[in-house]
């Protein structure tokens, strides 16, 4: 599929590669079907997207499916500012170390996450975190990269796309889940 090549040319994945889903409707239904979703958000979200309010879109989406949001670094304050009550302050390395542990019951102690949604990290860094989960995570846990890139180590990934297109996709996911514009 066009765009389903690693965004960084050399970050070739192994035999197990992400299932590519870029249609907002299908992503929305994956999100909707999650019982215990978790967002892990990084500090390298595109500036333009930030200006166009992607954070509130993410929070809306998370809210619609009752997801936790794990975030650390400078961007935490932006998420905190939304007053979404499931924003968790935790560094990415620490959260993925726990996510792959079958005994970890989540931030609220209520059980394992079944869908882990990644967004906003340096490409290679997300690639590696997803690699860790691909090999060491529970098979029942699915990872989903919502970045505008093909992330082969996720269970499900989008394709490479430009920021405008990406914002459309995210908006559509939001409206699929919440209704409205």
């Amino acid at each position: 599929m066009k765009g389903a090549e690693p965004w960084q040319t050399a970050e070739i994945p192994g035999p197990i590669k992400a299932f590519v889903i870029s249609e907002p409707a299908r992503i929305s239904s994956i999100l909707k079907s999650a019982r215990r979703p978790l967002f892990i958000i990084g500090n390298r979200i595109d500036k333009k997207a930030l200006e166009q309010g992607i954070i509130s879109l993410i929070v809306d989406i998370a809210g619609a499916i009752d997801a936790d949001i794990a975030v650390y670094g400078g961007i935490y304050r932006d998420f905190k500012a939304t007053n979404y009550d499931k924003v968790r302050l935790v560094p990415s390395m620490e959260v993925i170390d726990r996510v792959k542990d079958e005994n970890w019951k989540g931030f609220d102690g209520k059980g394992r996450y079944d869908v882990i949604i990644f967004l906003g990290f340096p490409y290679y860094y997300e690639w590696l975190m997803l690699s860790g989960l691909k090999h060491y995570g529970d098979r029942k846990t699915r990872t989903l990269s919502l970045d505008p890139y093909y992330q082969p180590n996720a269970t499900i990934s989008m394709i490479n796309m430009d920021i405008d297109k990406w914002m459309e996709v995210i908006k559509e996911i939001r409206s699929n889940l919440l209704g409205g514009e």
Partner: protein, 778 residues
């Protein structure tokens, strides 16, 4: 392994015949070192393995495989994904640890061959009996060597035994990576630690050999300030650029100029550690261009006339790059010959002529003493021609290049930092070079973008051109590497560090593969210096710290003192000077706390791990050497934080603060097992952002032994940074407050309320150790 000491005997008659003018290596001798020998002199990996396993129980490897495959033998490639195994039986965890071990073996080999080269050459020049004198206040001259080898090196010659030991052990460790060898990922990790320990030994040998003989600053807190930056190079003179890590060819350049009255006729500047060390040798004459990432930037300006390369961290395409600008390259190390003809046995003038006339593509000269004459003569001959050769393009030329762009984005996809190159090129096409200039800060000058471009856009050159004003203003000051820390300094700071009153020692080390530019390192270092941590630095990181000015037009080195004390910014020197950082930690245990040093690794590491609040930040760590240096800190129980690219080292060593059972120590007074909280929480950790790194570093400085006063100081910094970035108290605070007295007074009420809410309970403060044998009772 028997240690050897050498003595000279003029004549000896034995059953073998008459022997004259011999050096005798004596297997064992009662040395005049009053300290009794510990159990672990020149240890094998299995002797320290139980210590490693203690650490690995707390800090479990967390793998992020960089490849799903193994391709090391002809059974492969093997798919190791998930729970599969290779044809040899190895699984993904084993494979990742094996690759880490392999990387560390490459790292220690690099430092060891460097040390061997130095020691051999310096013995040749200064004799085997040249004394190891590192400065009047440095009595424990070689803490790593004493600790690991159980020897106290007095002369250059004594260092050879330690090198022999490293080479033997390295061979064993490398052998463990062979197909069908070590199958346990934890044993592989223990071997990583072993290699790391060896690495610091190699580093120490290399640095003390050169300090002792080459008149480097000797543990001098007031080592001189020298110039750094491309703008500081006098381009009106012939320019010799030295690159690498082995200072000897560079010293021969300085020596030749001095001996021949050419002292001010040629400009000598350097990149990487050779630059550090040539300014330690000659702070008056030599200048520093910058860290590794400045290599192609500087070459692309067209300035250097002659490039003398030695070893390590040199662009492997240097010959190609230099030839574009008709620069002349001389290679000097057997580790990096570059295919050049070996000219070592030719007359210097013959070499000069052949180089100047381009009869040879470059010259390999393995005798450092010959390099100086050739380099200087060639530089003076070719300099007048420099103007004829291609320099930076004009603005118009940059625009003309840009118009060829196909907007395919291959450059963006090739850039390791995902910089927005295409947009910058497109802007340039329209006459706006500012976006190109914006790339300068975060670009590491790797030219992957150029190589990927289908129209061969000279992207880096265009970035450099767009930044030419900035480049001219790159003119800063750095304090040259001071070498070791004085015993007297250790004695003064030992108590406040161990008790926790100096909140920590933060070391900024390693390579310049920064995810977001070098400025972050400067910000972090200044933050910790202001907070009265001891900030130490070395290698490329130390250069980075010198390459930014504050509002007063000063670099950190001009503002903060070079003393090993709260609020100091201490440049110890080149990469090999990292041994003084581990050395300082070891000396706190030995000089300040009077723990036995000799062959006593476990006790000293246990001491450091539980008492010395040190943390390394290798924000741009790139190389295999960086991995082995980090591994040496790990075995001492000192945590290391890397920047985002550090995730590519494939595995972190992560503690789990909520696993209570991981955080027990023995109370050395009673033998009881006591919970002390997750201190330090991690051993190897990737931080995504500098904000994260600062908060985590502050946290990782806490130690089980902190006094209440010390813990309060450390918590103040941790909480303060946390609040600054996140506006809240850290969630895990209850784990770090043992008794009420730990709580920083200024925030007492808030914290007590918080602790109550979290159900905090008071904990004991033991005399902490992980070693059962350290329990005094029983």
């Amino acid at each position: 392994m028997p240690r050897k000491i050498k003595i000279k005997i003029d004549e000896l008659k034995s059953e073998l015949g008459v022997i004259k003018n011999l050096e005798l290596n004596i297997g064992r001798i009662i040395e005049d070192w009053e300290e009794p020998e510990g159990q672990y002199s020149m240890p094998k990996v299995y002797e320290l393995r139980d210590w490693d396993f203690k650490l690995l129980k707390r800090y479990k490897p967390m793998y992020m495989p960089f490849c799903d495959l193994c391709c090391l033998c002809t059974y492969g490639k093997c798919d190791l994904s998930r729970d599969k195994r290779g044809a040899c039986g190895i699984d993904m965890s084993g494979q990742q640890s094996r690759i880490v071990l392999l990387a560390c073996c490459i790292g220690v080999a690099t430092h060891t061959s460097h040390a061997r080269t130095l020691v051999e050459a310096l013995i040749d020049k200064y004799g085997r009996n040249a004394p190891i004198d590192l400065g009047g206040e440095v009595y424990v001259e070689a803490p790593n060597t004493r600790l690991i080898c159980g020897i106290k090196p007095k002369t250059l010659g004594d260092l050879e035994d330690a090198l022999d030991y490293i080479e033997t052990e390295l061979t064993y460790m490398l052998a463990s990576t062979h197909t069908g060898q070590e199958g346990s990922n934890l044993d592989l990790e223990s071997k990583v630690f072993h290699v790391g320990m060896l690495d610091h030994l190699a580093l120490e040998i290399a640095d003390i050999a050169q300090i002792a003989t080459l008149n480097f600053p000797k543990a001098d807190p007031e080592a001189p300030l020298v110039e750094i930056g491309m703008g500081s190079i006098d381009i009106s003179k012939p320019v010799i650029l030295v690159i690498g890590h082995n200072v000897l060819p560079s010293t021969s350049i300085i020596d030749y100029m001095e001996e021949n009255g050419l002292y001010s006729d040629v400009e000598v500047c350097g990149l990487c550690c050779s630059a550090h060390d040539i300014t330690r040798y000659s702070p008056k004459k030599a200048k520093i261009v910058g860290p590794m990432s400045w290599e192609l930037r500087f070459i692309r300006t067209g300035v250097p006339d002659v490039i003398v390369i030695d070893e390590q961290c040199i662009r492997t395409d240097i010959a190609l790059e230099a030839s574009r600008y008709n620069m002349i390259v001389i290679s000097t190390s057997e580790q990096n010959i570059q295919g050049f003809p070996d000219m070592t046995r030719e007359h210097p003038d013959v070499i000069v002529e052949k180089l100047v006339n381009r009869e040879i593509p470059g010259a390999y000269i393995h005798d450092p003493d010959l390099v100086g004459e050739v380099a200087v003569k060639v530089a003076m001959k070719v300099y007048p021609l420099r103007k004829k050769y291609k320099k930076l393009p004009s603005v118009e030329e940059v625009i003309a290049y840009a118009t060829k762009c196909r907007e395919c984005q291959e450059c963006d996809k090739a850039c390791p930092h995902s910089l927005p190159i295409m947009n910058a090129i497109v802007a340039a096409k329209n006459g706006d070079l500012s976006l190109l200039a914006d790339l300068y800060e975060n670009c590491v000058a790797c030219t992957r973008c150029e190589k990927a471009c289908p129209v061969d856009m000279p992207i880096l050159t265009m970035i450099v051109k767009a930044s030419d004003r900035r480049i001219k203003s790159e003119k800063y000051k750095i304090r040259v590497g001071r070498g070791a820390i004085q015993d007297t300094e250790i004695r003064e700071v030992g108590s406040p560090i161990v008790l926790g009153e100096i909140p920590g020692v933060v070391a900024f080390v390693g390579c310049p593969n920064y995810a977001q530019g070098g400025k972050e390192v400067v910000i972090m270092a200044e933050e910790f210096a202001k907070r009265r941590y001891i900030v130490v630095t070395s290698g490329c990181a130390a250069m980075t710290l010198g390459m930014y000015k504050n509002n007063d037009n000063k670099t950190l080195y001009e503002i903060y003192p070079g003393v090993f004390d709260a609020g100091g910014i201490v440049n110890v020197g080149s990469c090999v000077a990292n041994s003084h950082i581990s050395g300082a930690a070891i000396k706190i245990a030995s000089v300040f706390a009077k723990r036995k040093l000799r062959g006593n690794y476990k006790e000293i590491a246990d001491y450091i791990h539980n008492r010395v609040g040190a943390v390394g930040i290798a924000w741009g760590a790139m190389s295999q050497k960086a991995a082995s240096i980090a591994a040496g800190f790990w075995r001492l129980g000192v945590p290391v934080i890397v920047g985002p690219h550090g995730s590519k080292y494939r595995r972190m060593l992560m503690g789990r603060k909520e696993n209570e059972e991981d955080w027990y120590v023995y109370d050395a007074r009673t033998g009881e097992k006591v919970y002390v909280g997750p201190v330090p929480e991690h051993l190897f950790y990737t931080a995504e952002t500098m904000e994260e790194a600062m908060v985590v570093a502050a946290k990782l400085c806490m130690r089980a032994n902190d006094t209440t006063k010390g813990r309060a100081v450390k918590l103040t910094n941790y909480i303060d940074l946390h609040k600054r970035f996140y506006g809240t108290l850290p969630d895990d605070l209850p784990l770090f407050v043992r008794v009420e007295a730990d709580i920083p007074i200024t925030m007492k009420d808030e914290i007590i309320a918080f602790l109550k809410e979290k159900g905090w309970k008071e904990k004991a403060i033991p005399d902490p150790t992980l070693l059962e044998e350290m329990v005094r009772k029983k």
